[in-house]
Amino acid sequence: MAYTETAYTEKILEIKDLSISFQTSAGTVNAIRGVNLDLHRGETLAIVGESGSGKSVTVKSIMGITSKNEHVNHGEILYTYEENGEKVTRNLLSLPRKQIIRHYCGQRIAMVFQDPMTSLNPTMSIGKQVMEGIRKHRKMNRKDAWNEAVNLLTQVGIVNPEHVMKSYAHQLSGGMRQRVVIAIAIGCNPDILICDEPTTALDVTIQARILELIQKLQKQRNLSIIYITHDLGVVAKVANTVAIMYAGKIVEKGTSYEVFYDPKHPYTWGLLSAIPSLDSDGERLYTIPGSPANLLHEVKGDAFAPRNRYALNIDFEEEPPVFKISDTHEASTWLLHPDAPEVHPPIGLQKRIQQTLQEGLFI
């Protein structure tokens, strides 16, 4: 492929065979069923999936945000960082909750949530909220913290930081609020920034601004970012690596060029085809039939099989292993097995990819 990504070598976070279930009144829900993911320093990883696919649960387990009925069946989350000039690797899942909250959550690993109105405290001034983390984790006095907070707000593109410091969340617009949330998140110089649908609640015009801001901060601070989103447009803009999640598993993973221009999993085909492109005209949209898998029931074979137009008999019997396509690209579908019949992506998608690749050569 003509388009390649910069290679990222330094592994900072490694999720290994993570499996999480929830006890509910209706029974056990196996929300995460063996997830493997790596995040490298400076890289942007996007996790894409529908609601209920387990993308939020995965990243929340990194932050140690768990609910009472949640149970980690097995797996490791290895986080490598520098402490006093030495490299340390810790399994975040084996650390006591208190320690995670005190030393990792918010400090080394920070998170930006979807709705800035609910993630900010309506009764606390913005300044107090920005200063809170700095004072606690960086042990600054009030005056230094104030100056630092003003500095942070300036960095996230707020024009009159002193005034905003004294305001409350409801006095700011949605875009401004999300900027404040980002300022709080980067306040303690984290290594990893997790963005859970950071722009879903915002208008398109403001969405572009916020994404550009996050990209700018990433360059300045060499942040590693995990985006969780269902918006493939956002993914195309920001991500180096894309992981597609379905029913608690990662079904396809690769660089963004690989996933967008050479997708291998039928679910990825479906996702890419289901969004109307601006060039397509009034044709019927391609749909993925049925609705997302219910993980209350035990999954036999491939969880996507019942919705898969290209399903083979074996898909209903046995779970597909992970097939490697390149060093960075892998997918778990039986269609990649050497004995599988040759199947091509939907025509509409093929055309679209060809067209952009041709146009892309001239850009």
């Binding site: 388009y3 015009t205 269902h230 447009g233 109307p276 492109s277 601006l278 850009i363």
Partner: protein, 308 residues
């Protein structure tokens, strides 16, 4: 011959705010919708697109302006007969299907409520048959009749919302962000279904959304709203291939594309009303083509046309 089903003339919807101020949510908007077509309204949050939908269906009392529905003025005080007609012939689909369906009622009662209110059946059997018919149209079946909303997935719930709107056989359906809360794969299903229903029944849609790609996909005509003013309106080709107003241009340039090559070379143009020097109140409606309207002063229009 064109058959206009809804005509909105100079609609103004003001709301009182604190200290005697008024919020001009919609400020002088005019448009026409022809029977059987889909009219898309786009704009950012706070632009007044939902307010227009709600004024048209008379959830609000318009401050001034006229609304003609099936050639009758429905903007003033409604007579009992008009009200009955309006409540049957115009229906709404809301954004969040969980919030718009009564959690304590079964599907059959939710969908049949319109029938109950307007006494449109003679026996219990007929009522059930009518509901089943509609449910089948939206891809649900008889077995779903006795279930409650929480037993459905998001996409199915939105189908129930659509069934409820369809059961009175309306002429116009106002879909206010009807698919925004759904997953991508489900959005496509619902959009295809809405298109099928339109082909079968000739229903007209007023489709309010902020997802421009989806609006382009489903609409025949599109109106672009900003700060309560309709700044540009035209067929979808007018708007997407030949946008003139700087706000429309910035809106189009901000649409994310599911395509990394295009996306990384895309530069979103920014538009700030306060610094642009444009005053929407001074602008008048100019027709660039037969169908293409831009809100501008003479001078602005010349500039924009030259600039292109």
């Amino acid at each position: 011959m064109s058959d206009v089903i809804l005509e909105v003339k100079n609609l103004k919807q003001y709301f009182p705010a604190e200290k005697g101020k008024v919020v001009k949510a919609v400020d002088g908007v005019s448009f026409k919708i022809e029977r059987g077509e889909t009219f898309g309204l786009v704009g950012e949050s706070g632009s007044g697109k939902s307010t227009i939908g709600r004024s048209v269906i008379r959830l609000y009392n318009p401050t001034s302006g006229e609304i003609y529905f099936n050639n009758q003025d429905i903007s003033g005080k409604l007579t009992a007969a008009q009200e009955t007609e309006l409540r049957q012939k115009m229906q709404m689909i809301f954004q969040d299907p969980m919030a718009s369906l009564n959690p304590r009622k079964k599907v059959i009662d939710i969908v049949a409520q319109g029938l109950d209110v307007h006494h449109l059946y003679s026996s219990k059997k007929e009522r059930e048959e009518k509901v089943v018919q509609i449910l089948e149209k939206v891809g649900l079946s008889r077995e779903h009749l006795d279930r409650y909303p929480h037993q459905f997935s998001g996409g199915q719930r939105q189908r129930i919302g659509i069934a409820r709107a369809l059961i009175l056989n309306p002429d116009l359906i106002i879909a206010d962000e009807a698919i925004s809360a759904l997953d991508i794969s489900i959005q496509a299903q619902v959009i295809n279904m809405m298109k099928d229903i339109q082909e079968q029944l000739g229903t007209t849609y007023l489709f309010i959304a902020h997802d421009l790609a989806m609006v382009k996909h489903i609409s025949n005509h599109i109106g672009v709203l900003h700060l309560g003013h309709l700044v540009e309106m035209g067929t979808k080709d007018d708007i997407f291939n030949n946008p003139i107003h700087p706000y429309t241009q910035s809106l189009l340039s901000a649409i994310p594309n599911p395509d990394p090559i295009k996306e990384r070379n895309r530069i979103a143009t920014s538009y700030d009303y306060t610094t642009s020097g444009i005053d929407y109140n001074l602008g008048t409606r100019h027709y660039v083509g037969d169908t293409h309207m831009v809100l501008a002063t003479e001078e602005e229009l010349c500039n924009w046309m030259d600039w292109r």
